[in-house]
Symmetry: C2
Subunit: 383 residues, 2 copies
């Protein structure tokens, strides 16, 4: 499972003492080849953490030998010294693995604005290197958890090749990726440019359409590494679909583990004039705090859905809008529709369908409800 | 005080039975002249309640004889029948007051998607007309409350003339106005076009810069009525300033009464390239749920401020950003600044200053923290 499901990879997860709890906090993923092709997608936030700035440079070369990941500190907003810390992290991994630091990606997660304790992180990298194993994927997935309640892995098998991956993320999930770190690996023989195409297509309709709390992280990183160890060159469509499926699986796991959430909310906008407008409307609904509170209270408050749609510039006529909640069309033609008492809100998944009656396009965005637990978790996080 | 502080106005507030609680729910404000000049500003939401659609038509004529306001139902998303209800409301007021229905504005607030009980509202209008008094302003302000814990009024005196007003609003407060109904009155002799200029300028920097929870209402209405009863024609700048001051006072009262809030958060963006960018950045900070939770927990989490700034397209360099919380510059040059332990977070007001180091412009937006009480209040509102 995880990042070692595909051949040509080893991984490890160890406790280096970055977390006060003593839980694992440093992960290492190593591509043992024969290929070192890689692609990456990073946060759209203009305030980027040091490891994002570093890894963007590394990925520019299209080759990655290893990825060092740490929880227990985001190394964001830490200035030039923070960037030096990331550089030293890559150098240390390069040294113990015998590879070039220019091929070592780094990803960090945790609190913003704190320097990493390098006196613990650097020995932790050496310890992780000693623990590397072709069965280390689960341990790596565990070591990148922050407020995640479970570790997250996924695998899809192709004919003769495999795509596997791990993810962390439980809050600050929003477009342009979430506070999430994701490493995908494959033993398919795919060059970097084709990895990039497949990864961007996959993230666009999976991770980028998870909008748990509207907050965009400084550290989001999704990497795809290909070892070529299977010796198989897959067809582009089937490979792209496998990458998409793994991303989709991991994205769903992120939604289900969102901080404090009691509902997973699937928002589908249909009959939009184009896909971008469908996404805009879905995101506006996903970010409406009043609606998210109502759904937490199992109240099918379609008025708040219409109110959210009305703030967008998408193509629609207010008196042509239709809204279904869990299959009941509670709003028809912008007004009262079927009896809202018929909506069964008892289950964790809530399905909202918003029909713009403006064209043939659609999109799905996932979000969560807004709960007192979310408030508690995020008002006490750094204390 | 309130809408009867200025000469030439009577008002009333009565209980018509729209609210199950039996609390007052119908207000009437009547301009007794000699002038009937008026201006209005309405929600930017494209899904507009029936009374907004009606009152926009009325205000097009620049004359308003009376305003009927009701709590206990928003009459939004109620289709053509809902519009007929608003029309009938105006006709009833016109009948009992002996004025033209085309000069009767209507404003409603409460739940979306429910028809108003006209068999109670219409008799309520007759009762309110009988109760009209030049001292009725307070009662009118009380009758428009929904989840407001207090009624809200303000008065500013000019030389020989007065501007007074009332407001309701305690949630769904966002730009393009809040779920708020505001009626301002003045006995100054000002034509409709000049009222419009003064009102738009005032709301742009007051009500439009309150962003309590990012949710824009379908019903927001701000009206300014001038009776000319003082016989004084004020200078345009002094009149504009009086209108602004009343709006600012009422806007501050809305912030302080926001649903479930424990903190009033003043976000000032300074050194922006232009005012629009300053507002965009301030609003992005105001809408960051993670930050709002942190401030609720009295955690001066400047990393979440930077993360919010980074999602905007405003002009700035990430490593030139500075952030102060309650006067302590906890972030300098995009990195760790003064000791965050020095920030005193015990008081209700929190002041955030974000320095973009990009120009001479600034703007202030007010918001509130995100609390478990907000979640509770809004997950149980309609049940």
């Amino acid at each position: 499972m995880s990042v070692t499901a595909a051949k040509g990879f080893t991984a490890a997860g160890v406790a280096a003492g970055l977390k006060d709890s003593g839980a694992p906090d440093v992960a290492l993923v190593v591509n043992t080849g024969p290929r070192l092709a890689a692609a990456g997608v990073f946060t759209g936030n203009r305030v980027k953490a040091a490891p994002v700035l570093w890894s963007q440079q590394v990925l520019g070369g299209g080759q990655v030998s290893a990825v060092v990941l740490n929880s227990g500190g985001a190394n964001a907003c830490t200035g030039p010294l923070g960037f030096q810390d990331t550089h030293a992290t890559a150098e240390k991994a390069a040294e113990v693995l015998g590879v070039s630091a220019a091929e070592v990606a780094v990803a960090s997660t945790g609190l913003i604005g704190l320097r990493l304790p390098m006196d613990r992180l650097l020995p932790g990298i050496a310890t992780a290197a000693e623990a590397l194993s072709p069965h280390g994927g689960e341990k790596a997935a565990i070591a990148i958890k922050t407020t995640d309640t479970v570790h997250k892995t996924a695998v899809v098998e192709g004919p003769g090749w495999t795509v596997g991956g791990m993810a962390k993320g439980a809050g600050m999930l929003a477009p342009g990726l979430a506070t999430m770190l994701v490493v995908l690996t494959t033993d398919a023989d795919v060059p970097a440019a084709d990895l990039d195409t497949a990864l961007r297509a996959a993230t666009r309709t999976t991770f980028d359409r998870v909008d748990s709390d509207g907050c965009m992280s400084t550290n989001d990183t999704v990497l795809l590494l290909a070892s070529g160890a299977s010796g198989v060159v897959p067809g582009a469509p089937e490979f792209a679909e496998a990458v998409r499926a793994v991303c989709d699986d991991l994205a769903q796991q992120l939604v289900r583990d969102a901080e404090g959430a009691s509902k997973d909310i699937r928002i589908e906008v249909v009959n939009a004039a184009d896909e971008d407008e469908a996404v805009d409307v879905a995101r506006s609904i996903a970010r409406n705090n009043l609606l998210k509170c109502a759904l937490h209270g199992e109240d099918p408050n379609w008025g708040r859905v219409l109110s959210a749609i009305g703030t967008t510039s998408a193509t629609f006529e207010p008196d042509e809008l239709n809204v279904a909640i869990n299959g009941v069309w509670v709003c028809k033609k912008g007004s009262v529709g079927e009896d809202r008492e018929r909506v069964d809100m008892r289950y964790r998944e809530v399905r909202i369908t918003a029909d713009l009656a403006a064209g043939p396009h659609s999109a799905v965005v996932w979000t969560n409800d807004l709960t007192a637990d979310y408030v508690h978790e995020n008002s006490a996080y750094s204390t």
